[in-house]
């Protein structure tokens, strides 16, 4: 019962093991500078993809403004470290909470809208955030903020990534997560079964925004520089590509797709443009030939694949 099942202990050991293995490789300098950048991106992309999947894949609300939440997290966290001299942990927390708050504010009115109208409204919201950043001198306008200290270290990144995935996974496999799945499957029936669908749509949106903001804070404190153009809707589309390719409603799918895309990006560094053409073609092909994505809504578990609606034992088992 509870935390101390053998499976949980095994998973815990694997998580700790990966941490120390990578830490050792970094210490020994076996991982190059270039690989380090991609390692950090990988973690950030995993956070972005899993949190967007919570909104799009598990709750069924097509939102195209994830870059906006990322921007809020990045800017607010940066203001706290650079302008106000606060510790990184506090900055990350406040950045994520600010994004979550934006999630509530934008979610409450817009989540009433039907599928494609919601998509457009959230896309518009992301562009408004970006437009505001351009117009606020305090955060550097279009030039953005430079010289952000590199506070996102491997321990921070790894801890936050694991935290995000485990939190989302635990959420989905609870009665609250099932309520979100019910909204996705049939909103009218969900409401008729006593579920406050508005509450759960906004909740999923807010949680997704929170982790999107977290990813933004981590991003800002690794890459020295944030600019409004970093967070355009093309970035929201990039995240969506990961979610769709991995499988809407599959957390492991999102993790795998985020990791795979980051790795392919690194390998095909010189073919950056062609690579994007291929992703785009892949996105169309997947929708036509395998709309369920790589993993469908299945999860990769310790006992191979289980045909569950994403509501069951995920990567970490239980």
């Amino acid at each position: 019962m509870g935390y101390f099942r053998s499976k949980n202990i095994a998973i815990f050991l694997v998580i700790i093991g990966i941490y120390f293995a990578v830490d050792w490789l970094l210490e020994e300098g076996i991982i190059t500078k270039f690989q380090q950048v991609n390692l950090m991106l990988l973690g950030i992309n995993v956070i972005l993809a899993t949190s967007l999947n919570l909104i799009v894949g598990f709750t069924g609300q097509l939102a195209l403004g994830h870059a906006g939440f990322m921007a809020i997290g990045a800017y607010v966290a940066t203001i706290f470290t650079v302008k106000l001299g606060q510790p990184f942990a506090l900055a990350l927390a406040v950045g994520s909470l600010a994004a979550a708050l934006a999630g509530v504010l934008i979610g409450l009115p817009t989540l009433r809208l039907r599928g494609d109208y919601l998509a457009i409204a959230t896309l518009g919201f992301g562009e408004i955030i970006r437009g505001l950043a351009v117009n606020i001198e305090y955060v550097g306008g279009a030039a953005g903020i430079m010289g952000i200290p590199r506070l996102t270290t491997w321990p921070w990144l790894y801890a936050m990534t694991v935290l995000t995935v485990v939190a989302i996974k635990n959420f989905i496999n609870s009665t609250h997560g099932r309520a979100c799945l019910a909204v996705r499957e049939n909103e009218i029936a969900a409401e008729a079964m006593g579920i406050n669908t508005t509450y759960y749509k906004v909740l999923a949106f807010t949680l997704g925004a929170f982790f999107g903001g977290l990813a933004g804070g981590l991003y800002a404190h690794y890459f020295y520089l944030i600019q409004p153009s970093t967070f355009s809707f093309l970035r929201s589309f990039d995240i969506l590509v990961m979610v769709v390719l991995g499988g809407m409603g599959s957390l492991t799918g999102s993790v795998i797709a985020a990791a795979a895309i980051t790795l392919v990006n690194a390998l095909l560094q010189d073919l950056a443009l062609l690579r994007m053409v291929i992703y785009a073609a892949l996105l169309v092909a997947v929708m036509i030939f395998r709309p369920q994505g790589l993993m469908g809504n299945k999860e990769l578990t310790l006992n191979i694949l289980r045909p569950r609606g994403g509501a069951d034992r995920g990567i970490v088992g239980d």
């Binding site: 019962m1 009665t175 099932r178 019910a182 009218i188 409401e191 008729a192």
Partner: protein, 261 residues
Amino acid sequence: MALLETKDLTLAFGGLAAVSGVNLTIGEGELVGLIGPNGAGKTTVFNLLTGIYRPQRGDILWQGRSLVGLRPFQITQLGLARTFQNIRLFGELTVLDNIAISFHWHSRYSLLGAVLRLPSYYRHEGEMRRRAEELLELFGLKQYAQEKAKNLPYGEQRRLEIARALAARPRLLLLDEPAAGMNPQETQALMDFIRWLRQEFSLSILLIEHDMSMVMNLCERIYALDYGQVIAEGPPGEIRRHPRVIEAYLGEEVALALAGA
């Protein structure tokens, strides 16, 4: 006091009265039928009772308290659950999860409890799972527990919908054409099942049904609806002989015959 009472319930869609001046009363433990030709407004009545539509006039009283203006989930939480004419299961989810979702609003652990996997999570999830399995057992659906709901045979889907509604622990169950698409044997079995349900869960039931023999045999009282109005009310024996009911149904049959259907 009646369990549920409607007073002068009225709703029009763009000038067309779908339901007008409907007065229904359902007492504790009653099994009541709602009949009427196609388009008479039966399902609209259900949608009004469950808060999907809001009446333009009239009131719906649940143990004396008005339901008008409440959202569907609030009405369900007061003890009124339903099935749908066109089955609305959570298709991609397992049969077990379909049931568990209806237990949701009875669940007693918080968001934090879920994310941090506090002991409350394990205790209540275990409890919910056990109760869901019990219910599936009662409905003879246990062997499907891990199947996706959309993969169930039609009859089992109908049964799962009833099970799911019951999991919300209603006092009044609204069944919208539960026998649709069933053969006479299946319908007979369903009738026995509904009687048993009422006993087992001490329910009141309001039933929309097209199958006359089923309604006549099953229900204690029947409301007949035509053009959104109650044209007759009473025990099956009276309804069967009621001239306006005969007219309404005969009218439909004649119309169908003329249309060559």
